[in-house]
Symmetry: C2
Subunit: 334 residues, 2 copies
């Protein structure tokens, strides 16, 4: 087994310098530190990994996304990942991207120094540190939603377009022919995919796309929802597909204030199946992303990468949850 002494001997430097290099001490030059780390990697010195030889150690790096409470977006992703990790003999640490950066500016080196065999990034965006390095990393890494062209990096995300398309198809099956759509605000991937799903859904059932049956509100808070409702009513909409559950809740409230009944007069669908969705009145028909399953699958993808499996971009099937906010079209009621 390679020791610190072997590395020192190979590089012709002192054992304490090698030790400083491996532990990220700041009183040696960056070049020396990199040289030590590169040599340690090359010689197969395992470092901190040996401490956890019975189970592999992976980390979750979560950014820009709340996850502490069950009603926050990241919660189930993290729980699912951790549950699958336990079942598959993995240890999981949560680290911030700052922790990694403090260890080393180079992603692969930071992971090696901290003893992680792989990572699951949630919420990474194009502006974050490491995204460029992920294009060429050799460390098994799974990203939530952000695709990167590298055989060592997999991506898992929800097929959002498929979810919205399911709402349109379902409403059409229920007899609706005037199906409006309130998207989240334009020009972000989440909104573009929803619009793609709406258009594809209309296409599949043979309905035309009509500008006046669409609108965009903020995903949260959905303040402008009330501006679109009067137009939809003029246009005799009998169903409204909403970009998320908050938008659906706002639409529901606006319709009630106007004395309209859901679903008797108008059917409504949400997206996300937030915990609040089932407590609305009426309980909301919505799309469940199975985030617990996605977290679980992220760990399985990571494990597969460490065992000669291959990876890529996985877009998961979302699931329509039918509750009481949608009903059969009978006749124009308002």
């Amino acid at each position: 087994m390679v020791t610190i002494k072997d590395i020192a001997k190979k590089l012709g430097i002192s054992i304490s310098t090698v030790s400083k290099g491996l532990n990220g001490a700041s009183d040696i030059s960056a070049d020396t530190r990199q040289l030590v780390l590169d040599t340690a990697l090359e010689m197969g010195y395992i470092g901190k990994r040996t401490k956890n030889s019975l189970s592999k150690h992976v980390c979750i790096v979560i950014l820009h996304l709340p996850y502490s409470n069950i009603d926050e977006y990241g919660y189930e992703l993290i729980s699912g990942f951790c549950l699958a990790a336990t079942e598959n003999n993995y240890m999981v640490s949560m680290v911030s991207i700052d922790d990694l950066q403090k260890a080393h500016k180079n992603y692969d080196t930071a992971m090696e120094m901290l003893g992680y065999h792989g990572a699951f990034f949630v919420g990474l965006t194009k502006d974050d540190a490491y995204l460029e390095q992920l294009q060429s990393t050799k460390i098994p890494t799974i990203l939530f939603e952000e695709p990167v062209q590298n055989p060592c990096v997999g991506t898992i995300g929800v097929n959002v377009a498929e979810g919205i398309q399911q709402c349109v198809s379902y409403l059409h099956e229920q007899g609706h022919r005037r199906i409006a759509f309130i998207n989240g605000l334009n020009n972000c991937a989440a909104a573009n995919m929803r619009m793609e799903g709406y258009r594809r859904g209309l296409d599949l059932v043979g309905l035309p796309f009509e500008e006046r049956l669409t609108g965009s509100a903020l995903f949260y808070p959905p303040v402008s929802v009330k501006d679109f409702i009067p137009v939809f009513l003029e246009e005799k909409a009998t169903a409204i597909v909403c970009g998320n559950d908050y938008i659906a809740a706002a639409a529901l409230s606006e319709l009630m204030q106007r004395g309209l009944r859901v679903p008797t007069d108008i059917s409504i669908t949400g997206f996300d199946d937030n915990p609040v969705a089932k407590y609305l009145s009426p309980p909301l028909t919505t799309i469940n992303e199975n985030r617990l399953g996605i977290g679980r699958t992220a760990l399985i993808m990571l494990d597969n990468l460490t065992r000669n499996g291959c990876t890529g971009v996985m877009l998961t099937h979302p699931k329509l949850i039918v509750r009481k906010s949608t009903g059969k079209y009978v006749s124009q009621r308002y």
Copy 2:
């Protein structure tokens, strides 16, 4: 544990009728057989599965695709799946779609009767039996390349567009600016994805799309390749991206017959990394799909589905294999 007797009692029919229903005998009506099977499923009667209680039993259904020899397309998919199955304590059977159909016209019932916990379909097309039933099956099923919107059905396929795009980017990095493309014949998904990759590749490096730098040959045999070469030469192409290794081999041979040198005068890339690619002269730069890894990952996806994981469409990252048929652009040599 539920027995045949319990089922008979519940349905108010004889034990022998239940037994006939479970074993697919033809001397009872189709309705009765279906009723028996539905009831057996509902009551949790496990049937043939109990015979293999120590390992789960899954099947591979392979259609329209040769797989017996190492140079045939399906070979590595099947090997990878079987290797991963062995490591994960699964038994695998190969069955034909006719075998399944003989057991029962209903897919879920056939799988239950034959004792399979899940299936991997390779080569299924829109015309095949069961495709429609796969839209609503509850049996964990993984398909190669064919997407189906059902949370119980996953799909794995290669991101072909990404592969062709990698060829274009790589050739651009090598200094090439006149990059031609011979696709497989138009109007099939395989060709459309390749064209998408070529256009996206040009786009990313800032080169215009030019009709006269493109052509379509049959994927196999690539007879019309020779028709495009003179046009490409007139257009001063210095590199040719090919839709597969057979097209690349034909282009190579055509260029040699015209006294041109590869890669000195013109660089060539293939696609698939067929066993023959490395034996061409010069050995071919090409795209490897890692079909062994895909087969392995299909089993992992199937296993994940049986353990509350979720699934969807996974498009895997292909890998550029640089050999000797590509080189740096120096100056126009011919």
